[in-house]
Amino acid sequence: MVKSVVPAGLKSMKKSDVWLIGVLAALALASFGGLSLYSKLGTKEPEAVVYLEGKEQGRYALSEDTKVKISLENGNYNILKIQQGKADMVEASCPDKVCVNHRPVSMQGESLVCLPNQVVVEIENGEEGEVDASVN
């Protein structure tokens, strides 16, 4: 019964052929495993990255509640608060307070921007948001 479903060609397969198939299969499996492991390693924790005049100043995991004062040389400042997985600008020395009025951010690519102080807080490794952009 079993023999009858094996194609004729395969009957003539040698041991070395079986080995070749085995090695190929093992290689394929290993590379898939490696790939998925790699991408898992690549998924880092969501964090808020602080930039001052375009230069990175620090990274803060959204999972850890904290309060950070970002101080400029000229005495100006912004206070960033991380709470319940979100980053929020709670205080700033800038004249327009647009950064403080902004809602807390946590999604991938979202940012808090204080143009007068040239402070940018950007979310990295965050969850993908539902929109491509927003109007406000």
């Binding site: 003539s12 397969m13 040698k14 052929d17 143009l115 040239q118 539902e130 491509d132 109007v135 406000n136």
Partner: protein, 351 residues
């Protein structure tokens, strides 16, 4: 027979590997990138688009930044730039002499005049004298919240006496602009950015970007749909920034523009009351009809102008204006959160 077998297997293995490599390369071909710059129109510009790699995208981003910077300089009312006659040059020469200008200033001012007429004076680019007074009081109020106060009514009225659009004299043949009233000044904050974004979108297409989403301070313009043909999804921010719900709704756009004017980003408080940055030319005060008004249209300059004008216009009158314009739709969010949409305003159903 067995040799044939081995050869076949080898060929299959190579084909499979080549297939993988091909898929990977294909994937790279339409990779999505996002970039930002901060030096234009006192706001953040975000560009979302596609390129074969990061370098190629950065190159395009740089080109877009240069283009937008050109408009930023032209429409700047605070700074002068070497070799450029901009709006500050025109304002500084008010009552003195006509100023020779770039065609992109002429076009913008013409659009401003057209929208002034269409919106019954609610879109007012010759309103700089009043706006600058509010600007001063707002900045001081934000700096020292306890001493925050409103501009005196008398001073507002005095300033408002110098906002006559008829005194803005455009000479298209000579490419000059002249402000006949020495006390008047132009402020294109309600229209300049939108006009520039429209031009930027056209430029993006010119340099071969077929699928781009431009967001200049929340002034959003889509060139085409996304690379996969699906429209871009744009969230309309909830004016209630304390609410857990970030967006009031989402819109799907392709080749369209969305602009929102609201009272919850730029404002200051006096005695616990909020006074936003948009001023109604008829009252010289911030309007109190809505929390935000969003406009969708083909042209970003027009959408920008309309969202500002509608913010200062009572609903019935504004709705009639929107219905009279082709290809223009709007959504009004009231102070109490009530949402009203024009007949063709398409929002995504709740999921």
């Amino acid at each position: 027979m067995k040799k044939w077998h081995r050869a076949a297997m080898f060929v299959i293995a190579v084909a499979v590997l080549a297939g993988f490599a091909f898929i990977q390369k294909q994937g790279k071909k339409a990779e999505r990138f996002q970039g930002q710059f901060f030096d234009c129109f006192d706001t953040v510009t975000t560009v979302t688009g596609y390129a074969k790699d990061k370098e190629a995208f950065s190159e395009k981003l740089k080109m877009l930044e240069e283009k937008l910077l050109y408009y930023h300089k032209l429409y700047d009312i605070y700074h002068t730039y070497d070799g450029i006659n901009n709006l500050k040059t025109i304002n500084d020469a008010a009552g003195k002499s006509p100023v020779k200008v770039d065609s992109e200033i002429m076009e913008l001012l013409k659009l401003g005049r057209e929208m002034y007429e269409k919106t019954d004076g609610k879109l007012q680019i010759a309103y700089g004298s009043v706006l600058s007074l509010w600007h001063e009081y707002r900045e001081q109020g934000n700096e020292k919240p306890k001493e925050a106060c409103l501009p005196p009514q008398k001073e507002l009225e005095e300033r408002a006496a110098h906002t006559d659009m008829a005194q803005m004299i455009l000479d298209e043949k000579a490419s000059t602009v002249y402000l006949a009233d020495p006390e008047m000044s132009l402020d294109v904050g309600s229209i300049g950015k939108g006009y520039a974004v429209q031009r930027l979108a056209e430029y993006a297409e010119e340099i071969g970007m077929e699928h781009v989403l431009l967001s200049v301070g929340g002034n959003v313009s889509a060139v085409g749909p996304k690379a996969d043909g699906i429209p871009w999804r744009v969230g309309v921010e909830n004016p209630d920034t304390e609410s857990a719900r970030q967006y009031v709704c989402t819109l799907d756009i392709a080749g369209l523009t969305v602009v929102t004017s609201g009272d919850y980003q730029r404002y200051y408080e006096v005695d616990g009351k909020r006074y936003c940055h948009i001023i109604d030319p008829d009252t010289n005060m911030p309007p109190e009809y809505f929390s935000s008004v969003s406009v969708t249209a083909r042209d970003s300059g027009m959408a920008d102008a309309l969202s500002t004008a509608l913010f200062s216009t009572e609903y019935e009158k504004g709705a009639a204006l929107v219905e009279s314009l082709e290809g223009v739709e709007a959504m009004w969010i009231g102070k109490d959160g009530e949402i009203r949409c024009s007949s063709g305003f398409k929002i995504n159903e709740e999921e």
